[in-house]
């Protein structure tokens, strides 16, 4: 659907840096316990209007519980959740201006696609004569007009996903929750649908909160990502910040591939030098952190930032090693380079030329290096 794009350059959308912006949702010291198990641990979080907010984490990290508290299916054990400044703790799910798209889609099997979408509208204060038009709008939004009379079991998985989305958007909620919305789709369809989701989110101006364990999905769709573990927020930032400037080894490792080297940092001029192994040169690393002399730390390097050479380059952070493994992915190749002390450095090269012979091969002696700005220094 080609939409007329606004001619003026849109102002960068970042309400979370604006101290005057009022959040749509606000978690204030929220804790949720199930018996002895703490699912959410004293959590503070603001989510703003029109955001596409992703909750990312391994299973059991509390992301689904957080979402179910927003929908009203779980109550916080401690703390308050505000929606537009109102405490919604006591509001039952059917009275909240929040709708949810379920992981299983949860379509009503005995109702047609049309009736599924109309279900919520019939229970709202929308006048009866306006419901058909709204349902048609929703069907058009997800391109399901032709299937209005079908039952859920008569359409494909991708189509069910669209119906579930249309049904949850029909009441124009202030907040839409998406629980692993694309989990059941195959990879190709999932990628297409990610862009459609973003388009629909922009078109409707609804605030989306998505729960996912797929980091690529979160990176693609989200305005901000919250990485969770054990009921706590580890880091909340925009996708580029969370990828390029993770605040912990956990986050660096959870999003994308990374080589982590442990060592001790000392400041030399405006750069840290990290000595990490006998007989290996110290790693030079630019960092905004303030570390004590000889403080133990981690250096994290993304494979695509590591260059691989046949001859020793004249540069910083040069290490010599041998290729022990090659992962060929078509568009790029990942090399595992083992140094003399056993440390493995991952390096990634784009295969920009159409050549089936590889530039480097197994057991080849190579040099790897990265610049001082490319490595991330992390406190222990």
């Amino acid at each position: 659907m080609p939409d007329p794009k606004p001619s003026a350059q849109p102002v960068e959308f970042a309400p979370w840096v604006d101290p005057k912006a009022a959040p749509l949702i606000s978690f204030r010291g929220v804790t949720k316990r199930f018996g002895d198990f703490t699912a959410i641990d004293n959590l503070y979080l603001d989510i703003f209007q029109r955001e596409f907010f992703a909750l990312l984490g391994p299973s059991g990290c509390g992301k689904t519980t957080l979402m179910r508290m927003l929908a009203g299916f779980e109550n916080a054990t401690e703390g308050t959740i505000l929606l537009e400044g109102q405490n919604i703790g006591a509001v039952p799910p059917n009275k909240r201006a929040v709708n949810m798209m379920f992981q299983s889609y949860a379509l009503f099997p005995h109702l047609t696609v049309w009736d599924n979408i109309a279900f919520g509208l019939k229970r709202s204060d929308m006048p009866k004569d306006q419901i058909p038009a709204r349902v048609e709008d929703m069907l058009r939004l997800v391109q399901m007009q032709k299937f209005a009379k079908r039952k859920p079991h008569q359409i494909s998985g991708g189509q069910r996903q669209r119906v579930a989305l249309a049904r949850s958007l029909a009441k124009a909620p202030k907040l839409l929750l998406l629980d692993e919305p694309l989990g059941a789709l195959d990879k190709k369809l999932r990628e297409e649908t990610q862009f459609e989701l973003m388009e629909i989110q922009e078109k409707t101006g609804t605030t989306f909160v998505i729960v996912t364990h797929d980091q690529e999905e979160a990176m693609t769709v989200a305005s901000r990502i919250a990485v969770m573990d054990h009921g706590k927020l580890i880091q909340v930032d925009t996708p580029p910040v969370i990828y390029e400037a993770p605040k912990s080894v956990y986050v660096a490792d959870f999003l994308g591939d990374v080589t982590v080297i442990e060592g001790r940092a000392n400041r030399v001029g405006d750069i840290y030098e990290v000595s990490w192994a006998e007989g290996q040169p110290p790693l030079r690393c630019a960092s905004p952190l303030t570390l004590a002399p000889d403080q133990s730390c981690f250096v994290a390097v993304r494979p695509e930032k590591v260059e691989i050479h046949a001859d020793r380059p004249e540069d910083e952070n040069v290490l010599q090693g041998k290729i022990v493994d090659i992962g060929y992915l078509g568009n790029l190749s990942t090399y595992h380079v083992q140094l003399a002390n056993g440390q493995i450095i991952k390096a990634q090269n784009f295969n920009t030329e159409r050549d089936t012979r590889r530039r480097f091969t197994w057991e080849e002696d190579v040099w790897v290096n990265w610049t001082v700005r490319c490595a991330i220094l992390l406190e222990r």
């Binding site: 929908a71 009203g72 299916f73 039952p92 799910p93 059917n94 009275k95 929040v98 709708n99 949810m100 379920f102 992981q103 299983s104 949860a106 379509l107 009503f108 099997p109 005995h110 279900f119 919520g120 229970r123 709202s124 079908r150 039952k151 079991h153 008569q154 359409i155 494909s156 189509q159 049904r167 949850s168 009441k171």
Partner: protein
């Protein structure tokens, strides 16, 4: 098609003979001309005709039918409610005890159930009649309904109900407009089960029936003690016929809807 081996043919014949020879004999003798049940004297339908004029049997049939319809309907409502709470409410104090207690009447000897109900009715001072049989049948068939419905609810995707709540339905509305239509087949089979149980119950009905409320099984049992009449054969044949037609039509209905669903799903995959 695979040919039957001698062994399978024999075992199949034996098994089915064991099940159906008694009924077959009953059906054959219901068309017997003779008044003697065990002596064949030619084909006749006269016992069916005389059955139609036997006021006592017709009354008993009418009582049985009313009792079965009322008790199975009440049992279905109560059993579904109990199953819903036990499956849905999550953990609450005494849940295990309650779910165990709801199934206890399944294994309770009928004589004990009947006797305890009789004592209760006497203690409360209720006159025994159709009303007390309905109550008694509801009591023992309700747990069967509850078993059938709760096994369906256990496999039911809870998020469908949550979706209804999420879209603004009140809890009862969500149950009525989403849960109930989905579990309807289980509720209907629960009702049918309760209906058949009530239809052929003799023990509990004999404890709780009054003089004016003889059910068909009681009537048959008491007449047989005075000697088996061909009329009873005819009546039993009719009951077998009704049950057979019911079972066959239910299974055809189930099979048809399953094939339809499979065909629709194939169509959906093909686009």
């Amino acid at each position: 098609m695979k040919r039957f081996s001698f062994f399978s043919a024999v075992s199949l014949t034996l098994g089915f003979a064991f099940l159906y020879v008694p009924m077959l004999i009953l059906i054959i003798f219901s068309f017997n001309e003779s008044k003697l049940v065990t002596v064949w004297a030619g084909f006749s339908t006269k016992w069916y005709v005389s059955l139609l004029h036997n006021e006592a049997f017709l009354d008993a049939a009418w009582v049985t039918l009313r009792v079965a319809v009322f008790s199975s309907t009440i049992a279905t409502v109560l059993g579904t409610m109990a199953a819903y709470v036990l499956v849905r409410q999550g953990r609450f104090a005494g849940r295990t005890l309650f779910s165990g207690m709801i199934y206890a009447p399944l294994v309770m000897p009928e004589v004990i159930t009947g006797l305890s109900l009789l004592l209760l009715f006497i203690a409360v001072g209720v006159d025994r009649g159709i009303f007390t049989i309905v109550l008694a049948h509801t009591t023992f068939s309700m747990c069967y309904v509850s078993v059938v419905v709760s096994s369906r609810l256990a496999t039911f995707d809870r998020s469908v109900e949550e979706a209804a709540l999420d879209l603004g339905a009140e809890p009862f509305d969500a149950f009525r407009s989403v849960t109930l239509p989905i579990i309807a087949p289980a509720v209907i089979s629960g009702w049918l089960l309760a209906f058949t149980l009530s239809l052929d119950d003799l023990v509990i009905a004999s404890f709780t029936a009054g003089p004016s409320s003889t059910t068909l099984p009681i009537k048959i049992f008491s007449s047989v003690r005075l000697g088996v009449s061909p009329e009873i054969n005819a009546l039993s044949t009719l009951m077998i016929g009704i049950v057979t037609v019911g079972v066959i039509s239910v299974s055809i209905m189930t099979k048809r809807s399953a094939t339809r669903q499979a065909r629709d799903e194939r169509a959906a995959i093909q686009g």
